[in-house]
Subunit: 368 residues, 2 copies
Amino acid sequence: MKIVCSKSNLVKGVNIVSKAVPSKTTMPILECILIDANMDVIKLTSNDMELGIQTEIEGEIIKHGMIAIDAKIFSEIVRKLPDNDVIIETDENLQTTITCEKAKFNISGKSGEDFAYLPIIEKNETIVVSQFTLKEVIRQTIFSIADNESNKLMTGELFEIHDNILRVVSLDGHRLSIRKIELKQQYSDKKIVVPGKTLMEVSKILSGEAESEVCMYFTNNHIVFEFDRTVVVSRLIEGEYFKIDQMLSNDYETKVKINKKELLNCIDRATLLVKEGDKKPIIINIGDEIMELKIKSQLGSMNEDIVINKEGKDLMIGFNPKFLIDALRVIDDEEVDLYLMNAKAPCFIKDEDENYIYLILPVNFNAI
Amino acid sequence: MKIVCSKSNLVKGVNIVSKAVPSKTTMPILECILIDANMDVIKLTSNDMELGIQTEIEGEIIKHGMIAIDAKIFSEIVRKLPDNDVIIETDENLQTTITCEKAKFNISGKSGEDFAYLPIIEKNETIVVSQFTLKEVIRQTIFSIADNESNKLMTGELFEIHDNILRVVSLDGHRLSIRKIELKQQYSDKKIVVPGKTLMEVSKILSGEAESEVCMYFTNNHIVFEFDRTVVVSRLIEGEYFKIDQMLSNDYETKVKINKKELLNCIDRATLLVKEGDKKPIIINIGDEIMELKIKSQLGSMNEDIVINKEGKDLMIGFNPKFLIDALRVIDDEEVDLYLMNAKAPCFIKDEDENYIYLILPVNFNAI
């Protein structure tokens, strides 16, 4: 194999596929990036058997062939090369020479034949959203997946399509996040659970431009994302997702309209007094026009008043401050509405059209 | 005690004194910052018994007094307060209230009486340099102190004054760095060894402006740095420093003039192939007009040619690439001169006036 491409194209491609290179594995071939120049285009591929990424890079193929190269060393070399054309050449012993200007690297490759290619997925109905939308939706829901594997379904996100609505849901047993997106056309009903890791990596690769599109295909076992010149294939999480609609309710006894930034900054300050692992709640005391926030720990105490617009009853309720912070951070609105029932019932933060819904369970507290 | 000062002044002061707060100590009082408003000015002080820092902050004293507050929690609180006036008030039980707008923190303080004040140092001859110069000189020498304590003197830097010249020296057994500065006046001869940690912290606090000055005083046991409204007092390292001048030589058999950035980038690329802890040398082959750099490790090999201007003999010599990188990184010249004798003798990188001298010992190698 012999190819020539610019350093910048190579870096871009390597950065994309590196997202699916496992950091630990018992199969050394998985730690490699496959450079495939067997056809008329140069393709880079990585695959950790759950998640696979393939991207095409601009360049010239002088001699067809392919080679698998250790991803870590290859990406480090490529990144530090001068900003010029890079020649990658392999010999029959899989020795790979990377030349750029007067710098010449020589490293051992592995046979491309041993590499685990991406599964071939039958492309049925294509769901199209903008890169901006998908990136935003992931950011606005990913924080409330569970990070331990004790319940596999909680480590993923539900993608549910009904008519022309895509609903993305994540939950971890203490909170629930829902984002609703209107699609440009009607689709048949679908319900799949995508691994959280896949979504995080996809989100890092997405340019986030509103003008660029992502095409998604689902099968029973896989989801495929196609955008720019990149294909991401991921396994799905098997099993039936939780019954979300039973957890939602439109009833409330207290409604609070509040400046989002003020509330976020206040909770952020309060959490200074809470050391990691310490489960001190923030106590919210909702009165007329004023909401008082209090926290108390071994380190000291803090309280602050925030001006609010209230409908309904007064209420005192406690929360894990981190859960409020996580939700408030991803909401782009200047003002948010909190809907509460009583000190034992969940709090809903949602907009009028329910484009976003954040449900947070309260915690017990001893009134300070 | 009751004081009022702006959040920004408080943050600035806390950031400065935090540099001398020990991360681990058996004496909890040392983990505190002392706020001293007993006189007409608000002073913040920290002291880890080796290094002590005091800085004055702008503000109003409503009631005289002092308090010692845990540095970590205090600096976190202060940093997250709204950008407005901050009131700090203590009661007779050392309870401290920090109020800013509607946010109110309550934490326990410690008695200021228990705090270890800075030693009082007799101020004799004042050595004056610009903040810019001191910051630069530290940056250009600090990397070659030894980081283990087996030879205490190597963990510090020699400050040597003779006539109107300040010479700053560091060495770790494999290399030696010297920076020479011309002072504005003559001083009596002095020779002290300043702890590397002190210099690193001082360098972080220095604004680095060429117009601002630093005054330095030495005693037998201490060095004092005074600048802006800050005083840094540090113990010195005891003992006689190494005889530097015996290590220096002006003889050479080979002189190489080379573009600094090209050489640095090349060595930087080569070190990709060297894993941490692995002691692979970079081999430099000096010929007419061309210098070849080679490195070989388990990961692969790399070689690159650089155009040079050579006087004297051809030479092949090996170095620890890190030592070359460290020295080249801090040299501001576009071109550097390397002076070499043979494959066993040290290499000198220095400018014509010897404002800087970097001595690097070569390493054995097997020609690749």
